[in-house]
């Protein structure tokens, strides 16, 4: 059974039928948004059952679309929080990846701008490394990008997609060693992306992110995880009811190989570690439970099969 990421959009009336159906089929609802009369579900469902969900949700005017970014957490790295970069293009891009199901966080650097003065501190580096992928939004000049990129990528272990003003060939030429993805002709601009050409650029960014993430997915598939992150999410919800009282939009953020649990580390880490997953196997046996650099959250990194010898 292969689970594929999809988005379900439909009316609020009887939407629990769809939620129950997805769970009965062995799928997982990763995020649920209720917006006035509309419900948006981001979920993993078995590939062969998508048609069935379509059929059952038809009388409810539900719509099922592919969204390749569901279940990923993306860091949109903006050089600063000044008017120069916000709201365009940083917010435009962060918002666009969110529409396709990703959970995007904007990481803004304390000393990102400029050429010689640009830098990355340890907290920023660690926060970026907690994500599945980092999208770097740089400026318009190749001289500056070439000069500051080695500093900005120091210690970053996650794949990087680089967006910059120069065209893609130039970017490929000046970045050494190469990063995982490039999108050219998207530098700093001071207008909203609403024309067809600009939206096309955003689609190009999404395509590049998807391509890089597919590569990462393939790598994970070669050495599968001991437990699926989406399944772990359901279990934590069931066994640690305190998570239901957390008010942030995604109390449990699903990543490709882990989970961010938005509960204080000191109080709940032991409880999370000792949580039984199945047949006496605890979460501590198949995953690392670490303190996150983001507030005082818990970061769960699921170990691959090769390290634990168990798949639950």
């Amino acid at each position: 059974m292969t689970l594929v990421p999809v988005t379900y959009k439909g009316g609020i009336f009887q939407h629990d039928i769809v939620v129950d159906l997805i769970e009965d089929l062995g799928g997982y609802v990763v995020q649920k948004h209720v917006l006035a009369q509309e419900v948006v579900l981001q979920c993993f469902v078995p590939r062969e059952d998508i048609e069935l969900i379509r059929q059952i949700s038809r009388p409810l005017f539900g719509e099922v679309t592919d969204s390749p970014l569901v279940g990923t957490e993306i860091a949109v790295v903006s050089m600063s929080l000044e008017i120069h970069h916000l709201p365009h293009p940083s917010c435009d891009i962060a918002e666009y990846v969110r529409r396709l199901g990703a959970k995007s966080n904007m990481v803004s650097l304390a000393r990102g701008p400029g050429k010689r003065i640009a830098g990355l501190n340890d907290e920023e580096r660690d926060v970026i490394n907690e994500h599945d992928i980092a999208v770097y939004l740089l400026g318009n000049f190749e001289t500056c990008i070439e000069y500051k990129m080695p500093t900005l990528r120091r210690g970053i272990e996650v794949p990087i997609v680089l967006c910059g003003g120069p065209d893609i060939e130039t970017l490929k030429k000046i970045i050494d060693p190469p990063v995982d993805g490039y999108v050219g002709n998207v530098g700093r601009f001071m207008r909203r992306t609403k024309e067809a050409e600009e939206l096309g650029k955003l689609d190009e960014i999404i395509a590049e992110i998807t391509r890089v993430l597919e590569k990462k997915r393939d790598a994970i598939a070669k050495d599968p995880l001991s437990v699926a992150p989406a399944r772990l999410m359901g279990l934590i919800k069931e066994k640690i009811p305190e998570i239901l009282e957390v008010t942030s939009p995604t109390p449990l953020t699903v990543q490709m190989a882990g989970l961010r649990v938005k509960l204080p580390y000191d109080t709940f880490a032991e409880k999370v570690r000792k949580m039984e997953v199945e047949d006496g196997i605890t979460l501590g046996d198949i995953a690392e439970v670490l303190p996150s650099r983001m507030r005082d959250y818990i970061l769960v990194k699921i170990l691959p099969f090769s390290e634990t010898n168990t798949v639950v």
Binding site: M79, S80, E82, I83, H84, H85, P113, G114, K115, R116, I117, A118, G139, N140, F141, E142, T143, C144, G165, P166, D167, G187, R188, F189, M190, R191
Partner: protein
Amino acid sequence: MLAVEYFEVECPEPLGAEYYEQITNDVLLDHNLLKVINKLHIWIDPKVPVFIAVATLKPITSVIRVGDCANVNPQEGKMTLVLSDETYLAPMLKIFWDRFGKDKVDQPDRFTVILTGVEATPAEVEEIVIGNPSESLHKDLIYAFRCIAPEGFRLRSEVFTKDKLTFVASENTLAEDIGTLVASLYKKMGEVPP
């Protein structure tokens, strides 16, 4: 740029110049400053790095009067001002308070001001000066150029004269002979440096 007589962005990287042309246009349009700029030349060298903007300004002679943003309707013993634009509402009220006294000025809602028993004719009230856009012009222009210049260029030198503006920014200490470069940019525009 429609209203600007001369506009040029010069940069060793042609693509970078193109982007900055767009950014300059967007920012000046957003801040409503295109109408005050006559000629503008921008020089960016990311290798140094330095950002220079030289411009000549159009004179702003007009002042804003009560009549420009409100209709004055005389009634028996009072005057009702119906506002069409509330940009200068705050300075207008302050001027009224100083001149007529707070007890004679009443503002029942956002777009209405009532003057009761004031010693002025409606025509006189209409002529009261409530704002001078050229006062805040330099502040607005500096803010706009800070938005246009690449971020991180925090060492700045701004020189204003009555009709000329020079804005130089860099992340390093500015070179001593930067004046020569600025002068040559003025020359390119066909202007005499200030």
